[in-house]
Symmetry: C2
Subunit: 258 residues, 2 copies
């Protein structure tokens, strides 16, 4: 048995999220497991670094699975891409150490949220942005975002994996960058609660359009009360772009077959 | 009766091209005409600057139509966007002079074709690129493209609107630019034959991967024989980005309500 690892990309529009939940729903995990079973002849459970919600995209999701599949390590990605649907592709694939775990070993995740900040919608970007009509102040949003950096209890902004578990997370960076008629919000942190990035973005947009002062975010954070979260942004603007591991694990992931 | 003009954007994936052809097919023209009729209460024929093929996208297509619709000129775009599907949107709209014609008055069209030049497909860009695996030489492709600039009979590369009509067109620029793992081919010219840009791109890719010498393109052009066209690129990489009019008409189009 070898432990395989993949970096995958997906357009989340037509998926009910990463994780298998209800029978009959199309999920990233489900499509990957079916494809791997079809190619290897055996069922393998797929584990992902981040459980993205329905409609959320990824360019750098990391997964692992165990299999006795006799494919050469450097051919895993090409073999899977030949069978996977067009909206779920493998960027790189290979064999990891037997102890590698895509989720437990991840030390940092980076998400990017894209806001189309103009009056008119965009046919070509509609699947990948949240269109916000009123002009947003990047400066006010960045000033508010700075209150969220560091290690805090983020109970206001999301739910833990299971009831009663810790809602403390470490946010390393929240950077808001203008890009033509868009605002790009990059959020990097140790790990994220369910809906956390979308709740950050929803809150920052309320600040950016002048409905909340930037410092209100500090009070909202400290309330640790989900009912105090002003708004949750829709999923289609969100993309999981990178998962990082310790130096040792990064080498394990990226050093051998690429 | 006023003559309305729109700059529109569309994701061509789920359309059978711009022009209404067969009953029951979803076309840009058809969806626009239905939407305008629904809002204005009367049928208006829609005329477009370029008849893009099935699967081809646009960010700068221009159309016009006549109507007694009592909407203020500056509200046309917002009114239509409220009803149009997410993959067809209006960027700007207004009222033109009664003699303006979106197709006949256009003096230049610009298309961009995007090639994803890498081994692995991309789930997020698959709808908008042609994935070409072998590494392409941008230099060879640009050198071949230079033979296509100027006024020539392009019968090798496409069909005229109607049999027997002229296949002479003026190409002002063909620029091939690398952009991360993509090649972006920008083609600007007076007007284009059916399939012309895709035939250019298919031919240039054969040069870029070393199957044809750059100078062979001159011979192929001069043959004026469609069977000499080496390859036609698929539609999804193509996007109509700009339509230009004479200075007088550009003012008419863009000077009044924006």
């Amino acid at each position: 048995v070898r432990r395989f690892r993949l970096v995958i990309e997906y357009d989340g529009t037509d998926f009910a999220g990463f994780q298998i939940q209800n029978q009959g729903e199309r999920t990233i995990q489900g499509v990957l497991e079916e494809t791997i079973e079809r190619l290897s002849g055996q069922f393998s459970r797929v584990h992902g670094a981040g459980r993205t919600d329905a409609g959320v995209h990824a360019t750098g999701q990391v997964v692992h699975f165990d299999s006795t599949w006799q494919v050469p390590a450097e051919k895993v990605a090409v073999a899977l891409n030949a069978v996977l649907p067009i909206d779920l592709t493998v960027r790189t694939g290979g064999v990891a150490e037997a102890t590698f775990h895509a989720r437990h070993d991840a030390i940092r995740r980076t998400y990017v949220y894209t806001i189309l900040n103009r009056e008119m919608p965009s046919a070509l970007r509609g699947r990948y942005v949240w269109q916000v009509h009123p002009p947003l102040s990047r400066e006010r949003m960045q000033s508010a975002a700075n209150h969220l950096i560091g290690t805090h209890d983020f109970a206001t902004f999301g739910l833990p994996d299971a009831p009663g578990k810790s809602t403390v997370r470490r946010m390393d960076a929240i950077e808001i960058t203008p890009q033509a008629d868009c605002l790009r919000i990059r959020v990097a942190g140790s790990a994220f609660l369910k809906h956390q990035v979308r709740a950050f973005v929803g809150t920052l947009v309320e600040v950016g359009r002048g409905k909340l002062p930037p410092d209100a975010v500090k009070t909202i954070l400290e309330s640790k009360d989900r009912t105090q979260c002003p708004k949750v942004a829709p999923p289609q603007g969100l993309c999981l772009v990178k998962v990082e591991y310790s130096e040792k694990r990064n080498e394990d992931l990226f050093g051998k077959t690429e």
